[in-house]
Symmetry: C2
Subunit: 255 residues, 2 copies
């Protein structure tokens, strides 16, 4: 049998029924705090619980395309603002009993977005909202989404060390102080302003100067700051390592 005959005779339904979804851990910074996009489930199972935005992968869609589509549906983003959001694959979750309906394998994604307007509920959800990560400890999330969020947060903290992705939380032009605020927010730890400033400028390709400065100083005083944009480096070398205190004992749990 040659390959063409084989394909013509092939029956896709001969294989076990598994559904594939994407879920998105979308992070942004609002009012100086790290926020996560959640939806309140409008349907069973787990109706009424908060969950990650996500849904089934459509037939002609790439995985990351599906994740971007789900994100767009819940945030109302499109065009250039959507393109500015960084989306990457996080990990896949496929424990047999993670969803009571059937075997569902979810490819989780991680997204970094600049400060966005309020979320707008999509079709599957009663409600969509940016929730402060600090308030998540109380809340029970649907399915295994608590674990996915934990893995996403650890990945985000780690990504800030060795990639320039912190800039994705900011507008195209930003000050070093704003960049430092991103690190402090995601890592949950104050950094030394002077050392951070020098370190960022010393890493090749992290940021490049626009030549301009802010129009005004800070709201509580201080000089005008120079403006920078993201440079062309994709990896930071040397990296901005987290203080030893903030380092996990082991890596994220991935299933």
């Amino acid at each position: 049998m040659n390959e063409q005959d084989f394909l013509a005779a092939y029956d896709p339904h001969a294989y076990p029924a598994v559904a594939v979804t994407v879920d998105v851990v979308a992070l942004t910074i609002r009012d100086g705090a790290l926020h996560l996009l959640l939806i309140r489930r409008g349907e069973q199972p787990h109706a009424g619980l908060w969950a990650l935005p996500g849904g089934f992968v459509r037939p002609d869609e790439d995985l990351v395309t599906a994740a971007r589509r789900e994100l767009a549906e819940e945030t109302g983003l499109a065009g250039e603002p959507l393109r500015r959001v960084h989306v990457e694959q996080l990990a896949s979750y496929g424990a047999p009993d993670r969803d009571p309906r059937m075997r569902i394998v979810s490819i989780a994604h991680l997204a970094f977005a600049p400060d966005l307007p309020d979320a707008t509920a999509g079709t599957d959800a009663d409600e969509a909202a940016w929730v402060a990560v600090a308030e998540l400890t109380n809340r029970q999330l649907a399915f295994d989404h608590g674990q996915i969020v934990a893995d996403g947060l650890e990945r985000a903290r780690s990504k800030l060390e060795y990639t320039p992705l912190a800039t994705r939380f900011l507008a195209p032009e930003f000050t070093i102080g704003e960049l430092r605020a991103v690190y402090e927010t995601v890592w949950g730890h104050q950094l030394h302003a002077g050392n951070f400033h020098r370190k960022v400028l010393s890493v090749p390709g992290f940021v490049e100067s626009t030549g301009a400065s802010t129009e005004r100083g800070g709201t509580r005083g201080g000089p005008r700051a120079r403006l920078y944009r993201a440079g062309d480096a994709r990896l930071l070398h040397p990296a901005l390592l987290r203080p030893a205190l903030l380092r996990p004992a082991r890596e994220e749990t991935v299933r």
Copy 2:
């Protein structure tokens, strides 16, 4: 409708037909060279081409369990030797046209194994063999397995920097020289013996002394070396960073 009624009425076949497989990038070191486990496909599509071991995820199996099962089938490993193999999730690959049969999403895994006996072909394969990674540049692999292998190799090189997983390529007791040979093989670069030795012993929890030494010196002379076993650290801090020359310009491509 409550959750129980909902589940009773639920029809799994209402969702798009997608199959989920696992593939395994299994690495080992043989004769001082990095080797990869490949099978020659016995069935269409891509019959006759070399491919990664892998297959459909069974209904009650976790993803990593499925990967270990596929690995066991092709290597003939079981019990303690199989437990000594490190398996972790690598990434998922789900481009709509990556398999001509139907939509297949593959959860790729990465495995580190000590030197293993020759592979034994499983049911789906004509042949299974450990192939030197250096010889892969010529060979065309089935599906998108070339990309998966490239991502796996980059992940392996990176993992050696910040985890103690290099020890998984070795027997339970090993010398610092053997550990250095793992790094040199995976990174493809000679390291300075003296500096490496001191560095490994200075990282807390990387290795611990057994108190014993080898029975004999090296085949070409030299003193007996002290024996070590893996320590309890799960992450190395400070890390053993690759020389800047060996660093990629960007991260692995993950789809």
